[in-house]
């Protein structure tokens, strides 16, 4: 039997929770094709020429934003940067007003980051352009999840059967959530590690194992992803001191003595050196942190390319229908 050809249909990328394994693999395969562009002397392809992308960032970000901008530039799209630090209120211009205003300028793709979970979904329901989630509250950060699995797959060939620990502030981490969905869909076993005060409600209902002891699990791991402790997202202190946190959950040189030789050490950045991870480990031979950044570019090019393809497919179907109705 001939395998049915996979067709990408989505015009938004809101999260990885609703994506199938096939869809995730398709993004990763597409990204692989785009990696080559960055090695050319003229690092540009005409794929999105004439398309307008807006980076709509309501929260600080340097690497994700730059990565998206560069990805858009490499595909020849025009990019508008839009930064708004204040959150919307009923009195001022609402988020929806902002989006509709941008849409009135004729944009094709909105790349959005916001401190409130669900904003990309809310936007996708209310505007016509494609929406790409660049991180929403502690809901999802799909391109980070994708670049993480891309990085692992690139080095290990597959995630099937790998043991991966995500360590730290799971409760307030959108990266953890996107990683969990992507990694488990691709066949990895995920262990969440951190103090109970940094675990979200009903975490046991996610397809993961939970451990409160890094030392108990560290010897079995193929990959360890150290989350950034996000002080700005935490209300009252969920642990007594950074010193005690590092003692139990920091990736120290001492702890690295217990790991498998070929373990991959990851971090979504920016690192709090000496808190989640000692500098020697961050810069050590097992660290793939900078490769994550490099791969992020190819992954984001793939995502922009694919949502545009999804939007064009939708337009094609719409046109066809109108033609048929006109007959």
């Amino acid at each position: 039997m001939k395998k049915k050809e996979f067709i990408w249909k989505r015009r938004h990328l809101l999260g990885l929770r609703g994506l199938s394994r096939e869809e995730i693999e398709h993004i990763l395969n597409t990204a692989k094709g785009f990696e080559e562009i960055s090695t050319r002397s003229v690092k540009k392809a005409p794929t999105l020429r004439g398309k307008v992308i807006v980076n709509l960032f309501f929260e600080d970000s340097t690497r994700t934003r730059n990565s998206f901008t560069l990805a858009a530039n490499r595909l020849s799209a025009d990019v508008i940067e839009f930064t708004e630090k204040v959150s919307s209120t009923s009195k001022g211009e609402t988020l929806l007003d902002t989006a509709k205003n941008l849409e009135a300028m004729g944009i094709d793709i909105v790349v959005i980051r916001h401190s409130a979970g669900g904003v990309p979904k809310f936007l996708s329901r209310n505007i016509d352009a494609s929406v790409v989630n660049a991180g929403d509250g502690f809901c999802e950060h799909p391109t980070q999840g994708l670049l993480d699995v891309y990085t692992i797959r690139k080095i290990r060939g597959s995630l099937e059967g790998l043991k991966i620990a995500i360590v730290g502030d799971i409760a307030h981490s959108r990266v953890a959530r996107s990683d969990i969905y992507a990694m488990t869909k691709l066949g990895a076993e995920v262990i969440l590690v951190g103090p109970p005060t940094l675990m979200p409600a009903k975490v046991e209902r996610l397809p993961v194992k939970i451990s409160y002891s890094l030392d108990d699990v560290i010897g079995q791991l193929d990959v360890i992803n150290m989350l950034r402790i996000q002080f700005e997202r935490m209300g009252s202190n969920p642990f007594p001191s950074t010193k005690e946190y590092s003692h139990y959950f920091g990736l120290t040189v001492e702890r690295m003595k217990k790991v498998k030789k070929d373990i991959l050490v990851m971090h979504p950045g920016p690192i709090n050196r000496g808190l989640e991870m000692e500098s020697e480990v961050a810069d050590g031979p097992n660290s793939v942190i900078l490769q994550q950044v490099t791969n992020g570019l190819a992954v984001r090019m793939a995502v922009l390319f694919l949502v545009n393809q999804g939007a064009m497919l939708r337009q094609e179907i719409k046109d066809k229908r109108e033609r048929l109705e006109g007959q």
Binding site: S88, C139, R177, A201, K202
Partner: protein, 429 residues
């Protein structure tokens, strides 16, 4: 000359007087004169054949937003919504801007209610000045002005010493109830929905059920000490229902209410980030709904109250994190209760009427909720099988933040009669 009203051929359900049969209702000068077989001539005759004739329904928990947020609702628009929903009496909550925390404000609400000439408008005053949870408000003056109880609704009184003082102080007044929005702010944090699997995958801060349960548990201890009449607003968790069951068994003077959304919706509804499902206390789980329904069946829940909380579209069109809490449901509340309690046979009609008229009247100590001789002629006439589709655009309420828009419900309100006067009629609207 006396003014007379005859409602004939209807099926009268008046549980306080153990009536559940076909009967005529005769009122003279706004008071019930007789319920029975007599059929005298009257100035106004309503043929209620095939209809249920009920003592006027009472909703002891509404937000009419006046003074301060008149763009969301006014006492006039809210009152019109109330009679369209079959309610002849409502109790306004004091979390307005400024808060209803003195006699002048209480009198203002009453005056606006009288001017609206729709439903009876009662009011609860704030327990503490500005609802700040610190200094007791002038309860005595507000009692004299006609306040039926006190609450800091919108938030609970956080400081147990203040709450104890409030219960103690209020116990010197007759016919007053202290009503609490149970929520420990430390535990609730900045939560915007129920804390659970859904909040985890939606990436939204959760409100642990404990936030509600802890304050209720605390208050029960304070009630035991003071023996002051205490009312629990919008019970939303299974454990709260259980705590109330135990407290009642112990004989403590505790009553409670349940809102329609805590019977019909769970936190699964939040999965699309639709802010019409953002409400406080938050939508919980199927297990909570099951326990609350059982508590209703067992008579533990004293009344149903809409917690009608209108908000503008522009406010609700914000991010789930920032949009205000609240659901506007006064106009379709009866239909919702029929759907969730009568249709699945959890309770029968006399029981429903009892918890929507007789028992809430007792909580707020008003001589209403029955069709007994000499009582004010507050009457709701409904077509129990009459179907309608909820349409927010037809709401008399100024706000449309109603997740039931488009739902098909039964129990169409035909007439709402207040003091013998028709204040709402389905034909004329």
């Amino acid at each position: 000359m006396s003014k007379t009203l005859l409602i004939k051929n209807g099926h009268v359900i008046d549980p306080a007087n153990k009536i559940n049969q076909k009967a005529h209702v005769y009122a003279v000068d706004g008071k019930i004169a007789e319920v029975g077989k007599i059929e005298p001539k009257a100035d106004l005759v309503i043929d209620a054949a095939g209809r249920f004739v009920l003592p006027g329904l009472i909703d002891i928990h509404v937000h009419f937003r006046e003074p301060g947020d008149e763009e969301e609702e006014t006492i006039a628009s809210g009152s019109a919504a109330a009679v369209a929903g079959g309610f002849t009496s409502v109790v306004c909550m004091p979390n307005t801007d400024p808060a209803i925390d003195d006699a002048t404000s209480v009198e203002y609400i009453h005056r606006m209610g009288r001017q609206a000439r729709k439903t009876h408008v009662y009011v609860m005053g704030a327990i503490t000045k500005d609802r700040a949870g610190e200094q007791l408000s002038e309860m005595g003056f507000m009692v004299q002005a006609g306040a039926v109880g006190f609450t800091d609704d919108g938030s609970g009184v956080q400081n147990p010493a203040v709450m104890l003082r409030a219960l103690k102080y209020a116990s010197m007044f007759k016919n007053i109830v202290i009503s609490q929005h149970c929520q420990d702010n430390w535990l609730a944090g900045n939560g915007v929905m129920n804390s659970g699997y859904n909040s985890t995958v939606l990436g939204l801060p959760g409100i642990d059920p404990l936030a509600e349960e802890m304050m209720l548990w605390r208050d029960i201890q304070l009630v035991r000490k003071t023996n002051m009449r205490y009312h629990v607003q919008h019970v939303s968790t299974a454990r709260c229902a259980e705590l109330i069951r135990q407290a009642k068994k112990e004989g403590l003077p505790i009553t409670c209410e349940v809102a329609p959304h805590h019977l019909l919706l769970t936190d699964d509804s939040c999965c699309d980030y639709d802010t019409n499902y953002k409400v406080n206390p938050p939508l919980r789980t199927d297990a909570d709904i099951k326990a609350i329904k059982q508590a209703i069946k067992d008579g533990i829940i004293d009344t149903l109250a809409s917690d009608h909380a209108p908000h503008l579209k522009s406010e609700k069109e914000l991010e789930f994190l920032t949009a205000p809490f609240g659901i506007a449901s006064l106009e379709c509340a009866l239909g919702l209760y029929i759907k969730v309690l009568i249709e699945p046979k959890i309770i029968d009609w006399p029981q429903l009427v009892s918890i929507m008229a007789e028992r809430p009247a007792k909580i707020i100590s008003v001589d209403k909720g029955t069709l007994g001789k000499g009582k004010q002629a507050d009457i709701t006439i409904i077509d129990p099988d009459g179907e309608y589709r909820v349409d927010v655009n037809k709401f008399r309420s100024k706000s449309k933040n109603c997740p039931y828009d488009g739902w098909k419900l039964k129990g169409k309100v035909e007439y709402t009669i207040v003091g013998g006067e028709i204040r709402y009629s389905a034909q004329e609207s």
